[in-house]
Structures are given as structure tokens and as C-alpha cells.
């Protein structure tokens, strides 16, 4: 059989990327400076972008192309992580940077953008491929998409895609409305809703861990797993983002998107293939399987918290209500804990506890899978529990408290996996103690991991939406969260209800205690 000449070498080359222009709305904003440009520059450094790659930045500030390039050079040099900054490469990269000042509400701006993109296509040979990145206020997403559509920029030579950042709506109704307006301009396959948690190397590694190994999946169900705890803790407070946080709250900011997506990754069924739609179908199916709480269930299965003022490590911490821009009577939650149940055969009856909060004792994001105890505990544990005699001889089977196995999937700060199991303590007697077997992603592989934005931007350029959320996933997660938001809006919480530097309100511990569980202290 004759071979089609291609010049490609999949064993050695990076994924083939098409030439394209990335249009960034909000090009003078923090996200562009801190994340997007450093990620794109790093991709260029690694030779992952096609020759002629171009960026068109748009914001209200008047600037020339050269001024924009200089601003971006400063940002990339400042915010580039774990990478060298090469002036010569930057000069070459910067040739592809262009800037347009404009108001996104001005229809003429989109006509000027059309002319600019036509020129870029000619000089940079981008083949018309265009990725629009909306790094703006969420309220501008739909108007910008409509502006793009009205100027006929959503169709034409090459492909056209649009990336939007969370939040995807403020509630289920607004999320549906946003989707409706976006889909009037772009096909769903061209809409990339970014959830940077899904771009994290370790979140992707959960899929590799579950579906690339034969030994875990048979245990991954209600028969062997007692419960699951997902924790996303921040040690800092809102740090100047009080006004935003007051509107959003932890449930909207973290649970509706990141944590439910992580839960879906942990609990989804294996997909038939590792393709965008196959993986997202399974995630969506899991999200739709989460039991939607009735008002009478919400009281017992959710906890809302807000931190007050206090001292941590000798430092005075400002309470949330004392933050700039925050209403002194604010009812916004800086802490959420919730118990979710999944209504399918695999997970029926297994509680998934999710908690997230600001001003907690440490910054950590992890998933803890608590396995059921051994059915019969015949050994004494390290605490000496049970009725073994002084010589250490075992008593009757079943007398002792076994320490259940625990599998920890750490997402940050030290990505890795730990399995806790019981082992005999050295010496005479048969006493068990838990030991930890660790796999540390960052140090077992000392290689630099790509940032979430590098991964996700490259995926959007090659048209791989596996790690992006889809309309049905967004709406399914809003369906889970909306009744909680509605119920909470009818209540007046006695905030603040936890001190900074603690693990949140006591009610969160009580919520687990009612099911005979307790929070793990990461």
C-alpha cells in the first residue's frame, strides 16, 4: 500500500497546529497580561504555534501596535513562569502582535476588526482561521458575539471559534439566555467555555489514573467506596476582589463550575473513546445524575459560611464585611460545604462532600476517596484499640477498629496521588499502622508541566474541546446549584460564622457527623 506523504512524525512532533489569528477582547486586562500572553509566548518558545501565528488585541485604551507590543513584552517577561525569556524570539513573536483600540459596543469597531483580520490573513498567512477570546466582563459576552456575527466575522474562510471565561451566567435562566445568544452566532462546536481547572495536568491525570489502569476501576463504586470528599481551600481572603465576590459568592464562583466538573471527572463512566464529545457526554451524564435537592433537603445538606476578622500567625486579618466594596451586612458566602448524591447504579447512596472557602488554614485542592473498612478487623491498630492482651495477641475477630484505606488525588499545590493502607508495625506483635504510598507528579517527573492556559489555548487552536465545558454541562450544573441559591436567598445567615485560619463553620462538621463521617484535615 502506498503511503500518503505528510512530513508528520507523531512520535516526535508536537500536535500539528493550524495557522491562525487570536483576537483578544480585553487585551489590556489582567488575564491577558498574566496568563494569556505568557502562555502563548511559551507555546511559541516550544515551537508549538504555526509560522505566521498572529494576535490582535482589542481594548478601549488608545495604543499603537508598538506600544501594545512593549506592554506585552513587559508582562510576558514579568509573568512567564518556569521559562526563559528570549529577547530574540520575542522580537520575532512580536511581529505577529497587532492592536486595535475600540469600544465593544460600537458596531464600527467590528468593521475595522474585519479589515484588520483581512490584512493579517494576507501578511501572516493565517488562512482565515480565527479564535476570538473574550477576556472581558461577562455582561459583554453576548454583545461581543453579536457584534462579531453582525460584521460577518463568525463565518468565512477557515474556522472561527470563540472562547469565553466563567461565569457562564449568574443562574440557570441567564446561562440559558447566554447560550441562546452565543449559538445564534456560533455553532455549539465553535464555542469553547473555558474552565481552567479542567486544564490542570492533575485533573487530566484523574482520567489517566482511572481509565489507564485496570486495578482501580473495579473498586470505583458504591460497593467499595464509602464516601468522597472534594476540598478546594484558599488560605487568603478575597484580597481586593470583595465587590466581585459579594455578587458571586463561593457557590457560583467555585462549586457551579470547577468543583462540579472535578466531581464529574471523578465519578463519570468511562467513555468509549478519548474524543471531545465522548468524554463530555459522560461528564454531562454524570452532572445530570446528581440529585437536585428539594428545599427541605438543602438545610441538612448544605452549609454557608463567611469569615470574620481575626488573627492568623500574628497577622490581623480583615473580615469579609470589612473589605473594600463589601456591604457591611453582606450575605455573600465565602465558604460552602455541600453533600451531593448521585442517582445512578455506580454511586447510589455514596455521599460526595464538597467544600470550598476563603481564609481557611491552607491552600489545598484535593479529592479524598474513602474506601469502606475491611469487613472483619482481626488486627489491633496503632492506637491499641480493641481487647488484645498485653502480649499483643489478637483478640476475637471483629474486636478492633480498622483504619479504612484512603486514596488522595491532590490537585494543588503538590500534584500527586497517595494511597493510605495498613502495614504491620516493625517488631514483635501484630499491630497495624497506616502508611502512605505517594506518587508526586511534580517530583516523580521533574519536567515542567504546561500551565492550564497553555493546554487549553492549544486545544482550542487545534479544535479539541475535550477539556472545555459544553452547553448541556453548564446547564446541568446550574440545575444542581440553582435550588440552593434560591433557598439561601430566602434566609438570613448569622454571618460571620467562622474565624479566618479555621476549617469553616461548625455546621460543616455536623453535616458530615450526621452520616457518621468527618472531614479530612489535608
Amino acid at each position: 500500500m502506498s503511503r500518503e506523504p505528510s512530513l508528520q512524525d507523531p512520535l516526535r512532533f508536537n500536535r500539528k497546529t493550524p495557522p491562525c489569528a487570536v483576537v483578544i477582547f480585553g487585551a489590556n486586562g489582567d488575564l491577558t497580561k498574566r496568563k494569556l500572553l505568557p502562555a502563548l509566548y511559551r507555546l511559541a518558545w516550544e515551537g508549538r504555534l504555526a509560522p505566521g501565528f498572529a494576535i490582535v488585541g482589542i481594548s478601549r485604551t488608545a495604543m499603537s501596535d508598538d506600544e501594545f507590543r512593549e506592554h506585552m513584552r513587559e508582562s510576558v517577561a514579568k509573568y512567564l513562569e518556569d521559562s526563559p525569556f528570549d529577547e530574540d524570539l520575542w522580537r520575532s513573536f512580536a511581529q505577529g502582535l497587532f492592536y486595535m483600540a475600540g469600544d465593544v459596543a460600537d458596531a464600527n469597531m467590528y468593521q475595522r476588526l474585519a479589515a484588520c483580520l483581512a490584512e493579517v490573513e494576507k501578511t501572516r498567512q493565517t488562512a482565515g482561521n480565527t479564535l476570538f477570546y473574550l477576556s472581558t466582563q461577562p455582561s459583554q459576552y453576548a454583545p461581543i458575539a453579536e457584534g462579531i456575527g453582525a460584521a460577518n466575522l463568525a463565518r468565512g474562510d477557515g474556522w472561527r471559534r470563540i472562547i469565553i471565561e466563567k461565569p457562564f451566567g449568574r443562574d440557570l435562566t441567564s446561562a440559558r439566555e447566554l447560550n441562546r445568544r452565543l449559538q445564534k452566532v456560533f455553532d455549539e462546536s465553535g464555542i469553547y467555555r473555558i474552565d481552567h481547572y479542567l486544564g490542570k495536568e492533575t485533573v487530566q491525570n484523574i482520567l489517566a489514573f482511572r481509565f489507564g489502569n485496570g486495578i482501580f476501576e473495579p473498586l470505583w463504586n458504591r460497593r467499595y467506596i464509602d464516601h468522597v470528599q472534594i476540598t478546594a481551600a484558599e488560605s487568603i481572603g478575597v484580597e481586593g476582589r470583595g465587590a466581585y465576590y459579594q455578587e458571586a459568592g463561593a457557590l457560583r464562583d467555585m462549586v457551579q463550575n470547577h468543583l462540579l466538573q472535578v466531581m464529574a471527572t471523578v465519578a463519570m463512566e468511562p467513555s468509549a473513546a478519548f474524543s471531545a464529545d465522548a468524554v463530555r457526554d459522560e461528564r454531562a451524564k454524570l452532572l445530570r445524575s446528581i440529585h437536585v435537592m428539594k428545599p427541605e433537603e438543602i438545610e441538612a445538606n448544605t452549609v454557608s459560611g463567611q469569615y470574620g476578622a481575626g488573627r492568623v500567625g500574628g497577622e490581623q486579618i480583615t473580615g469579609f464585611r470589612q473589605e473594600k466594596g463589601v456591604n457591611p451586612e453582606s450575605q455573600a458566602e465565602t465558604y460552602v460545604a455541600a453533600t451531593f448524591l448521585v442517582g445512578n447504579w455506580r454511586w447510589a447512596g455514596v455521599p460526595f462532600y464538597i467544600r470550598t472557602g476563603k481564609s481557611l488554614p491552607k491552600r489545598v485542592t484535593e479529592i479524598a476517596i474513602h474506601f469502606r473498612s475491611a469487613p472483619l478487623a482481626v488486627f489491633r491498630n496503632e492506637l491499641g484499640e480493641g481487647n488484645a492482651d498485653a502480649s499483643g495477641d489478637a483478640g476475637a475477630p471483629g474486636d478492633y477498629e480498622a483504619v479504612p484505606n484512603l486514596l488522595i488525588l491532590r490537585i494543588q499545590p503538590e500534584e500527586g496521588i497517595s494511597l493510605k493502607f495498613n502495614s504491620k508495625r516493625p517488631g514483635a506483635g501484630m499491630t497495624l499502622r497506616p502508611v502512605s504510598m505517594d506518587f508526586n507528579y511534580g517530583s516523580s517527573f521533574g519536567e515542567r508541566s504546561p500551565s492550564a492556559y497553555e493546554t487549553l489555548l492549544l486545544d482550542a487552536i487545534v479544535g479539541d474541546a475535550t477539556l472545555y465545558t459544553r452547553q448541556d454541562m453548564v446547564e446541568a450544573s446550574w440545575s444542581v446549584v440553582q435550588p440552593i441559591l434560591d433557598y439561601w436567598s430566602t434566609r438570613k445567615f448569622a454571618f460571620p460564622n467562622y474565624a479566618p485560619g479555621t476549617w469553616g463553620p461548625a455546621e460543616a462538621d455536623e453535616m458530615l457527623a450526621r452520616r457518621g463521617h468527618s472531614w479530612r484535615r489535608p
Binding site: 505528510s6 512532533f13 500539528k16 505566521g52 518556569d82
Partner: protein
């Protein structure tokens, strides 16, 4: 270490390795009591393969250590370094650990290393020593960094130690293309760092020609300096001949007195690539840009080769095309 010993017992080396880990663990326990240390610090032991490296006696130890350290970051392994000595009768061993603390982490990672010093007249003893030292259940890779190893008569037994064999044909005394072809034809997985050195450049060429009809390319010219074409130039010619069968692919010497290296690639009608150290300046139509070609240290090249533990069909196809060559001046 067993100085001057004429025999080396693998069991003894394995025992020394075990003691090494015990001592590392004890050192770590001691350090835990230091104020300011994290409670959960510790030594992490990792092993994803066995690397058996043959090096010459006069090999630069620091450079070798850098290379192995670089590999360990993506391929934590048990490294068995066989240092080939000219003096006769020598057979010695020592074990040690290579540890480092990755930036931002508080747990150091350690990989074990066994160094064997072996006289050329004792090379036949190597397989029986190295085979039991290899870590179980993980791949074994033999890397010939020694210039003289290709000529030893016991090479067959040594090659059989590994699942893959890696050479660098840019080094004098390395196995020839014909040797590699014989091994590849016999089903052996082979790698050549001279070929690996081309990956980024080949990728750039593939990007520049992406979307074009390759049958419209008539002529490719590869220019080099030095008295003879470096293996990289020959590999590039063979690859392009294999992939663009309609084109004439010429090798041209442009600077006989210059340092032997690849200089320029011209692809008709309008692509011109000037190769520099770690980068390339290229022109494609109206585009004139610079591309980074990182990852050319020995450690980077080996890392790429260790990523590929299957038959590399493209390389094997190119190897079949490697022929005797006469330059056009």
C-alpha cells in the same frame, strides 16, 4: 566500593543499593526534626526504567552527571554506568544516589546509580553482572556513549541486555548506519541522537510545508560546512527523499573550512531556513521569522529517545535510505 577487586557480585551491589536507601531514609528522618521543615517531607524513590550507559574512561564525569540528572526528571531510572578502562583486569563497582529537590517542593527525589569500571578485556563479564542489576518489570535501555564500544567482539551480548539501544552517530567510533540498519532489520529498537537532534528542525519544515501540495516541490538543497556532511545532514536528506518523493534533494558543501554542521535548507520555490545554534531564521513567502529549536543538550536528546520505546517506523525507513554519499561542491 570494592577497590581493586577482580570480581563483582551483583547480590552485593543490590545489598549496597538497599543500604543506600535505608541511609537516605535515616538522613531524612534526622532532618525532619530541624525547625521549619515540613512534617511530610521525605525521600521519594522512583524508577521507571533501567538505563545502562557505556562510557569511556576519560568521559567528563560532570557532563555525564548533568545528562543523567536531566534524564531523571522525566525518566526516573536505575542508571548503571559502565566505564570502559584501557588498563587490563579491572572490574570494580560502587553505588550512589542522585538526589535533587525540585523547585517549589519540599520532598527530594532520589534515583540510584551503579557505576562499574571494567577493562576492555573484561567486557565479556558485563552481561552477567548487569542483567541481575536491572530493575524488574521496567524497560531497559542501552546507551552507547563510548566511542570504542562498537568494535568490541562481545557487542551482541551487550545489545541483548536492552529493549532499546541508543547511539550517537555524530561521534567518531560510533556504530555505522549499516550497523544500525542490521540491528533494526533484526527487530532491535534503535535510536540515534544524530537523528533526534533533527526533530525540532524537521517539525519546522513540516509546519512550513503544511497545507502545501508536496508533489509541487521540485528541489530541496541542504547546505553544510566542514569537510564532510555531518550525520544530521545525511539523515535530513534521507528523510526528505523519503517524504517528498517528487523532489531532488541535494547535499551541498558551502564552507569546507568551517565547523562541520548543517547550515541552510532551501526548499523551492520560496522557503529558506538558516540553521543557527538552538534556533533557526526562516523565510517563507513574505514571512520572515525566527523559531526556537530548544532541547539539543545530550540530556534533552536522550529524554526524547527514552519517550519512544516502540519501533520508530519513520526513523527505520530513513535508516534504510542511508547510503554512501559523495558531496557536490
Amino acid at each position: 566500593m570494592t577497590p581493586g577487586a577482580q570480581t563483582v557480585k551483583p547480590d552485593q551491589i543490590l545489598h549496597e543499593l538497599s543500604e543506600l536507601w535505608t541511609s537516605l531514609s535515616e538522613q531524612d528522618k534526622g532532618s525532619k526534626h530541624e525547625p521549619g521543615k515540613e512534617e511530610d517531607s521525605g525521600v521519594l524513590r522512583a524508577c521507571a526504567m533501567t538505563l545502562i550507559a557505556f562510557v569511556d574512561d576519560d568521559a567528563d564525569s560532570m557532563a555525564l552527571s548533568d545528562t543523567i540528572g536531566r534524564i531523571m526528571r522525566s525518566h526516573p531510572c536505575r542508571a548503571i554506568v559502565v566505564r570502559l578502562r584501557q588498563a587490563s583486569g579491572i572490574l570494580e563497582s560502587r553505588v550512589f544516589a542522585q538526589c535533587w529537590m525540585p523547585a517549589g517542593h519540599h520532598r527530594q527525589i532520589c534515583c540510584e546509580q551503579v557505576e562499574l569500571s571494567v577493562s576492555l578485556n573484561r567486557v565479556a563479564d558485563i552481561p552477567s553482572i548487569v542483567s541481575p542489576l536491572a530493575a524488574p518489570d521496567v524497560p531497559r535501555v542501552v546507551w552507547f556513549r563510548s566511542y570504542g564500544i562498537a568494535s568490541v567482539p562481545e557487542l551482541g551480548g551487550i545489545i541483548a541486555l536492552g529493549d532499546k539501544m541508543i547511539v550517537d552517530s555524530a561521534h567518531q567510533g560510533a556504530p555505522t548506519f549499516a550497523d544500525l540498519r542490521v540491528l533494526a532489520n533484526a527487530g532491535c529498537i534503535v535510536g540515534d541522537l544524530a537523528w533526534t537532534r533533527l526533530s525540532k528542525l524537521r517539525q519546522l519544515i513540516a509546519q512550513l510545508l503544511g497545507g502545501r501540495d508536496l508533489s509541487s516541490v521540485d528541489n530541496v538543497s541542504i547546505e553544510f560546512s566542514g569537510t564532510e556532511a555531518v550525520p544530521e545532514a545525511k539523515y535530513l536528506q534521507a528523510w526528505l527523499r523519503s517524504e517528498i518523493q517528487s523532489a531532488t534533494v541535494d547535499l551541498r558543501r558551502v564552507d569546507p573550512t568551517g565547523k562541520a554542521r548543517l547550515k541552510t535548507i532551501r526548499i523551492d520555490p520560496d522557503i529558506h531556513i538558516q540553521v543557527e545554534e538552538n534556533c533557526a531564521e526562516y523565510q517563507s513567502g513574505s514571512l520572515r521569522e525566527r523559531a526556537n529549536l530548544p532541547g539539543c543538550s545530550e540530556g534533552d536528546l536522550l529524554t526524547e529517545e527514552l519517550n519512544i520505546m516502540t519501533h520508530d517506523r519513520i526513523f527505520e525507513r530513513v535508516l534504510q535510505r542511508m547510503t554512501a554519499w559523495t558531496p557536490r561542491s
